[in-house]
C-alpha cells in the first residue's frame, strides 16, 4: 500500500525551439568562458542558466492549482467543425496563470490546443478548440494535457490529467435531401401525440428536454417554477413517416468498403430527411433491419432519431445453417 502519494501530477518538460537556441547560445558562452577565462563571460553564463532555471520554476507555478473541466457541446455532427469548450479554474490565491494550453485526446489522437492567455487568481477562463470528425458514433475523450511555455517560451512544461468522457457524434447532415409529401394517417396507425411543431400554442407546457429550442421556453413559468419549462404547440397534422435504413451487410459482400460507404450516405440522408420532416411537423420513426428508433413527434427536436442513427451499426446476415450429416455407424 502506498502511504505517501505525490501531491501533484508528474511534470514533463521539453525545450521549445527558442529554448534549444537559447541552450545553444548558453553552451557557446560556457565554452567561450572556459576558453578565454573572461569572468564577465562567466557572469553572462550564470545569467543565462539562471533564466533557464527561473523559467522552469515559474512554469511550474503557472500549472499549480489548476482545475480543468471539459464542456461538451449539445450536438456534434460528423464532417462539421464544432467548438469544444474547456474551462480552466485557477485556484491560486495570488498568482495568475498565464499562457496555458490544453490539448485533448480524442480516440487517442491529439486535438488542436485550447489556449488561455491569462486566467487571474480565483477565476475561471473558458477557451475552445475546433473539433471535427468524419465518423459518427461514440467518440471517447480520454486524457488531457495541460501545457505552458510561460514565462519566457524557453521550456514547455506540462502534465497529463485523466478526464474520461464520451460524446455521441451525429451523422453527417447533407445540404439537401428530398422529402416526399406525406398524408395524414388514420385509425390505429395514427400517432397518439397531439403536440408538435405547429403554428398554434397548445396552451400546455412541459419540462425542457435536451434539444428543445430556446424560443419555446416559457419564461414566466420557468421563473415561477425554478426550472426550464417550454411551450407545447398544437401539431398541424398527424402525419407519420417511417424512414428505413438498410443495415444488413451480406455475408460475402463483393465490395464491403463500397457498401459501407453507401451505408453511411444512406444514414446521412435519413438523418437529414428526419430533421426536415420534423421541421414540417411530421412525426418520424426510423427502422433498420434489426432495430427501430423511438417515434419522434413532429415539431420536436430530432435528437432521438440522430442518436439512434449515430449508433446504428451494420448487422451481418447469418449464413444459412447446413444440415448436420449423420454418419451411419458401421455394422
Amino acid at each position: 500500500m502506498r502511504i505517501f502519494r505525490p501531491r501533484r501530477r508528474r511534470r514533463k518538460f521539453r525545450l521549445t525551439r527558442e529554448g534549444r537556441a537559447f541552450l545553444f547560445v548558453t553552451l557557446g558562452v560556457g565554452l567561450a568562458a572556459v576558453n578565454t577565462a573572461n569572468n564577465l563571460l562567466y557572469l553572462v553564463l550564470g545569467l543565462l542558466l539562471s533564466l533557464l532555471l527561473v523559467s522552469g520554476v515559474l512554469s511550474d507555478l503557472a500549472l499549480w492549482k489548476l482545475q480543468i473541466k471539459r464542456k461538451l457541446p449539445a450536438r456534434l455532427f460528423a464532417g462539421r467543425r464544432s467548438l469544444m469548450d474547456v474551462a480552466l479554474v485557477n485556484e491560486k490565491r495570488w498568482l495568475s496563470s498565464v499562457s496555458i494550453e490544453t490539448i485533448d485526446e480524442v480516440d487517442g489522437v491529439d486535438t488542436e490546443p485550447a489556449r488561455f492567455v491569462r486566467v487571474p487568481p480565483g477565476e475561471t477562463g473558458v477557451a475552445s478548440y475546433r473539433f471535427e470528425t468524419r465518423r459518427r458514433g461514440i467518440v471517447e475523450l480520454g486524457t488531457m494535457r495541460v501545457l505552458t511555455r510561460y514565462p519566457f517560451g524557453l521550456i514547455e512544461k506540462g502534465y497529463t490529467t485523466y478526464l474520461p468522457d464520451e460524446v455521441i457524434v451525429y451523422p453527417q447532415l447533407l445540404d439537401h435531401v428530398t422529402t416526399p409529401a406525406t398524408r395524414p394517417m388514420q385509425g390505429d396507425a395514427a400517432p397518439t401525440h397531439q403536440t408538435g411543431r405547429g403554428s398554434e400554442f397548445a396552451g400546455s407546457v412541459r419540462f425542457y428536454r435536451e434539444g428543445d429550442e430556446a424560443r419555446d421556453i416559457h419564461w414566466k413559468r420557468t421563473a415561477s417554477r425554478g426550472e426550464l419549462v417550454v411551450r407545447e404547440h398544437e401539431q398541424d397534422s398527424n402525419a407519420l413517416v417511417t424512414l428505413t435504413v438498410n443495415n444488413l451487410l451480406a455475408v460475402t459482400p463483393d465490395d464491403e468498403a463500397a457498401w459501407l460507404e453507401g451505408f453511411e450516405v444512406s444514414i446521412s440522408e435519413v438523418a437529414t430527411a428526419a430533421a426536415a420532416y420534423l421541421m414540417q411537423g411530421v412525426s418520424v420513426q426510423v427502422q433498420s433491419n434489426d432495430s427501430v428508433s423511438p417515434l419522434v413527434a413532429g415539431g420536436t427536436p430530432p435528437d432521438p432519431i440522430w442518436r439512434f442513427l449515430a449508433l446504428l451499426k451494420p448487422c451481418r446476415a447469418e449464413a444459412p445453417r447446413r444440415g448436420r450429416k449423420h454418419k451411419r455407424r458401421a455394422a
Binding site: E18, A21, V25, V29, A32, A33, V34, N35, T36, A37, N38, N39, L40, L41, Y42, L43, V44, L45, G46, L47, L49, S50, L51, L53, V54, L58, L95, S96, V98, S99, V106, D107, V109, D110, T111, R115, V117, R118, E132, T133, R134, R135, R149, Y150, P151, F152, G153, L154
Partner: protein, 720 residues
C-alpha cells in the same frame, strides 16, 4: 498600459542596453556613436503603415547587404575585425528595430541584444559594464515574457488580424501587477547568477582572452612627452590609481602627498622630452616578490596600489621603493608570474595583459635618500646634454647656483629659485611662444607655467652646471575615499619633477611652486557620488573581474572553517592557520589544475551524455510505439514523421482522424501537386511498418529526400 506600447518600450530598453554594451568599447568614434543614437531614436517612430510598404522592407534588406559588403571591405583593408564586427552588429539591431512587425522580429531583437551583451564582455570590464549587466537582469524578464506573450497571441489569433490588434491594444496583460511580478524576478535571477558565478570552477584556459579591454591614455608616460601635455589633464578628475598605505593615522587625513614615480626622460630637444630606447633587465623575483634594490624588510612601509589599465604598462612606485609584490595571473589553475622589466632611467614596466585594474604592493624604505642606479656608459652622456643656443640658460644657472660649494647645494639653490626666488608663478595657461623656444619663453619672458616647465627648466639648468639630471613624470598627491578606504589618485594629480645624480645617487627635487603641488581636496555631492562610484568600481574589479580559482579555493576554505566553527570546532579552526584568511594562504597550492586534458575529458563526457540522451529518447519512442521496433520499422516511422512535417509545412497536415492511406488518397483526389510522392512514401511506410517488407537504408535516404522535396513542389506554381 497597452500591451503593444509596453512591449515597444521594453524592447527599446533592452536593445538600448545592448547597444550601450557595444558603445562601452572604443570601437565607435564620437560621430559613429552619435549616428547610432540618432538611428536608434528614429527607429522608434517607424510604425505602420510605413512598415507595411513593400519598398521599406526591401530597403532594409538591401542596406544590410550593402553595409555588410562595406564592412568586409574595411576589414580587408586593415580595419580591426572587432571594430568592424561590432559596428555591423549595431547596424543589424537598428535594422530590426526599424522593421519590427511580428513576434519573430522581436525575437531577433532579443537574440541581437544577447549577442551585444556577450560582445560587451570583451569590450569593457569596467563598472559601466556592470551597470549594463544589472540593467539586463531587470529588463530581460520583461522582454522575454512580453515577446513570448506576443508570440502566443499571434499563434492564437493569427498575424495581423483584427483580433490580434484588439489584444495588442488591450490593457489587461501589461498591468502594473505583471511588471511588478516580473521585476521581482530580478531578485532570484540576480542571486542565482551570483551563486553560479562564484561556484563555476575557474578552469579558464586563457586562449583568446582579453580581446579589447579598454585602457586609458595619460600623457607623460610614453616614449616622449611634449611640454604642455600635463596642463591639459590637470582638471581631469578620472581616478587612475588607488593607494592603500598599510599603516596610517586614525582618522585618516583627507589627502596625502605621496609621490608615485612613473618614468623618466633623458633627452631634451625643441621643447620635447624623449627616452632613449634601451633593453631593460628583468627584475629578480621569488614567487610574487620582485627586488628593485633589496628584498623587503619588516620596517619598510607597505603600500597597496590598484592601477587602472593604461596604454603604457608603467608601474607607479612611491619614492623609496625597494621591492614589489605583484600577484600572478591564474590560467588553467596555474600561477603565471608577470615579467617585470627595468630599463635605464628606473623605468619599470610590467608584462602580460590586464583585464582590469592591476593590484600590487610596494615596499618603501623610510630612511633612503635618493637611490643608486647603474647607467650604461653609452647612455650617460644623454643626462648632461644641453641643446645648442642655451647659453642664456647656462648663464642663469651659474648666476643662481654659482655661490654654492657642492652639487647638492647647487641643486637646492636652483630649486629655490624656481619655486619662489625668481618670481615664477604656477599657471595652467600655455605661454604664447610665437615660434620661440618654450623654455626660453618660460624662464625669461612669461615666468609662468606648470610643472613640466619648472621641471624642464631645473633639469636643463642642472645639466648646464655639469650635473646629470633627468625629467621624471608621475603622480603627486591623493585624496581619501571613505567609501573604499583608500587614497584615490586622479589624472589631475599627474606631475613632473627632477632627479639629479649627486654622489652616485639620484636625488629628487621638485621645483614647482607649492601652489602647483598642493591641491585642495575636492568636496561636494558630486565628488561624494564620484567617490562612491569609484569604490564600487574597485570592488567590481576585485570581486568579479579578477576573481579566479585561487579566490574560489580561499572562499571554500573560509566556508569550511565557518562551518566547523558552527559545529563547535572553533578551536580546531583557530589552531589551523591554513584555514583562516590572510596573506599566508594567498599562494597556497591550487588543488585543481585543469589543462587541455581536462578540457578534452569534459567535452568527451558531454558528447557521451548527448549520445546517451539521444539513445534513451529513441528507446522511449520505441517503447511508446508498443514494441521494440526493428531498424526497418524504426526507419519507417522516422520517414513518415518527416513526410508529415513536409505536409504540415505545405499546409496539408494530416487530420488526426484520418489514416495515412486515406490522407494520401484525399490528396490525390484534391489535385495536390506532390500526391504521387506522398503516395509512394506512404506505401513504403505502411509496407515496412505493418507488412513484411523491409526498408533498406538506401531506400530510406531516397524516400527521405522525396518527402523533403514535397514542400518545395507543393509551393511551386503549376506549369502551363
Amino acid at each position: 498600459m497597452r500591451f503593444a506600447f509596453a512591449h515597444k518600450l521594453v524592447t527599446y530598453l533592452f536593445a538600448g542596453l545592448g547597444l550601450t554594451a557595444l558603445l562601452l568599447g572604443t570601437t565607435f568614434s564620437p560621430i559613429e556613436s552619435l549616428l547610432l543614437v540618432a538611428a536608434f531614436v528614429a527607429s522608434w517612430f517607424a510604425e505602420p503603415p510605413l512598415l507595411d510598404r513593400p519598398g521599406y522592407s526591401r530597403f532594409w534588406n538591401v542596406a544590410a547587404v550593402v553595409f555588410l559588403l562595406i564592412q568586409i571591405g574595411r576589414a580587408i583593408s586593415g580595419e580591426a575585425m572587432l571594430s568592424v564586427g561590432v559596428q555591423y552588429a549595431a547596424f543589424l539591431q537598428i535594422s530590426r528595430l526599424s522593421h519590427r512587425k511580428t513576434a519573430a522580429d522581436y525575437q531577433q531583437i532579443v537574440i541581437l541584444g544577447f549577442l551585444h551583451l556577450i560582445a560587451g564582455t570583451v569590450l569593457s570590464a569596467g563598472l559601466d559594464y556592470a551597470v549594463v549587466f544589472f540593467g539586463f537582469v531587470v529588463v530581460m524578464p520583461w522582454m522575454l515574457a512580453l515577446t513570448h506573450l506576443r508570440k502566443e497571441l499571434e499563434t492564437q489569433h493569427g498575424a495581423d488580424t483584427p483580433m490580434l490588434r484588439g489584444e495588442l491594444e488591450s490593457r489587461e496583460l501589461a498591468t502594473p501587477a505583471f511588471f511588478g511580478g516580473t521585476t521581482l524576478l530580478a531578485i532570484p535571477l540576480f542571486m542565482l547568477t551570483a551563486a553560479m558565478f562564484f561556484a563555476f570552477p575557474r578552469v579558464g584556459f586563457g586562449f583568446l582572452s582579453n580581446l579589447g579591454t579598454r585602457t586609458q591614455s595619460v600623457a607623460g608616460f610614453g616614449d616622449d612627452v611634449e611640454l604642455g601635455g600635463f596642463g591639459a589633464i590637470r582638471d581631469d578628475p578620472t581616478v587612475v590609481m588607488r593607494v592603500k598605505p598599510k599603516t596610517r593615522p586614525t582618522p585618516p587625513p583627507q589627502s596625502i602627498a605621496v609621490r608615485l614615480r612613473g618614468t623618466s626622460f633623458d633627452r631634451y630637444s625643441e621643447g620635447r622630452w624623449s627616452r632613449t630606447q634601451a633593453t631593460g633587465t628583468e627584475l629578480r623575483h621569488l614567487q610574487d616578490q620582485y627586488v628593485v634594490f633589496r628584498p623587503p624588510e619588516p620596517e619598510d612601509q607597505e603600500y597597496e596600489i590598484i592601477l587602472d589599465p593604461m596604454q603604457e604598462a608603467v608601474l607607479f612606485l612611491p619614492d623609496g621603493t625597494v621591492a614589489l609584490r605583484v600577484p600572478p595571473t591564474v590560467r588553467a589553475g596555474r600561477d603565471r608570474y608577470r615579467r617585470i622589466m627595468q630599463a635605464p632611467g628606473l623605468d619599470i614596466r610590467y608584462g602580460g595583459r590586464v583585464e582590469g585594474p592591476l593590484t600590487y604592493k610596494a615596499f618603501v624604505t623610510p630612511k633612503q635618500r635618493g637611490f643608486p642606479e647603474r647607467i650604461p656608459r653609452r647612455l650617460r652622456k644623454h643626462y648632461v646634454e644641453v641643446p645648442a643656443d642655451y647659453e642664456r640658460v647656462a648663464a642663469l644657472a651659474k648666476r643662481v647656483a654659482g655661490g654654492a660649494s657642492n652639487p647638492y647645494a647647487q641643486a637646492q639653490l636652483v630649486e629655490r629659485y624656481l619655486r619662489g626666488g625668481g618670481n615664477f608663478r604656477y599657471t595652467l595657461e600655455q605661454p604664447d611662444t610665437e615660434g620661440k623656444d618654450p623654455l626660453h619663453v618660460f624662464l625669461f619672458e612669461a615666468k609662468a607655467g606648470h610643472c613640466e616647465y619648472f621641471s624642464t627648466a631645473m633639469a636643463i639648468m642642472m645639466r648646464s652646471l655639469g650635473l646629470p639630471a633627468r625629467n621624471v613624470t608621475g603622480f603627486l598627491g591623493a585624496d581619501y575615499n571613505p567609501y573604499g578606504d583608500y587614497y584615490a589618485v586622479r589624472n589631475g594629480n599627474a606631475h613632473s619633477w627632477v632627479e639629479v645624480l649627486i654622489d652616485g645617487r639620484w636625488i629628487t627635487f621638485d621645483p614647482t611652486p607649492a601652489s602647483g603641488q598642493v591641491f585642495a581636496s575636492p568636496s561636494g555631492l558630486a565628488v561624494k557620488l564620484r567617490q562612491m562610484m569609484d569604490a564600487m568600481r574597485v570592488r567590481w574589479a576585485d570581486y568579479i573581474v579578477e576573481y579566479n580559482i585561487r579566490d574560489q579555493v580561499k572562499a571554500l576554505r573560509g566556508f569550511a572553517a565557518w562551518y566547523r566553527s558552527l559545529r563547535g570546532g572553533r578551536r580546531s579552526a583557530e589552531s589551523n592557520p591554513g584555514d583562516g584568511s590572510g596573506d599566508e594562504q594567498d599562494f597556497a597550492p591550487i588543488p585543481f589544475r585543469p589543462d587541455w586534458r581536462w578540457f578534452v575529458a569534459i567535452m568527451s563526457t558531454f558528447g557521451v551524455g548527448v549520445l546517451f540522451v539521444r539513445w534513451r529518447r529513441k528507446r522511449r519512442r520505441q517503447t511508446r510505439a508498443g514494441r521494440q521496433l526493428d531498424p526497418d520499422r524504426d526507419r519507417a516511422v522516422r520517414l513518415y514523421l518527416s513526410l508529415e512535417n513536409s505536409l504540415r509545412s505545405a499546409g496539408h497536415a494530416r487530420p488526426p482522424d484520418v489514416t495515412p492511406i486515406e490522407h494520401a488518397k484525399e490528396l490525390g483526389r484534391s489535385g495536390f501537386p506532390a500526391a504521387d510522392e506522398v503516395r509512394e512514401v506512404t506505401d513504403a511506410y505502411l509496407a515496412a511498418r505493418f507488412g513484411e517488407d523491409g526498408l533498406p537504408l538506401q531506400d530510406y535516404h531516397r524516400l527521405r529526400h522525396v518527402s523533403r522535396s514535397i514542400r518545395a513542389k507543393a509551393k511551386r506554381p503549376p506549369t502551363a
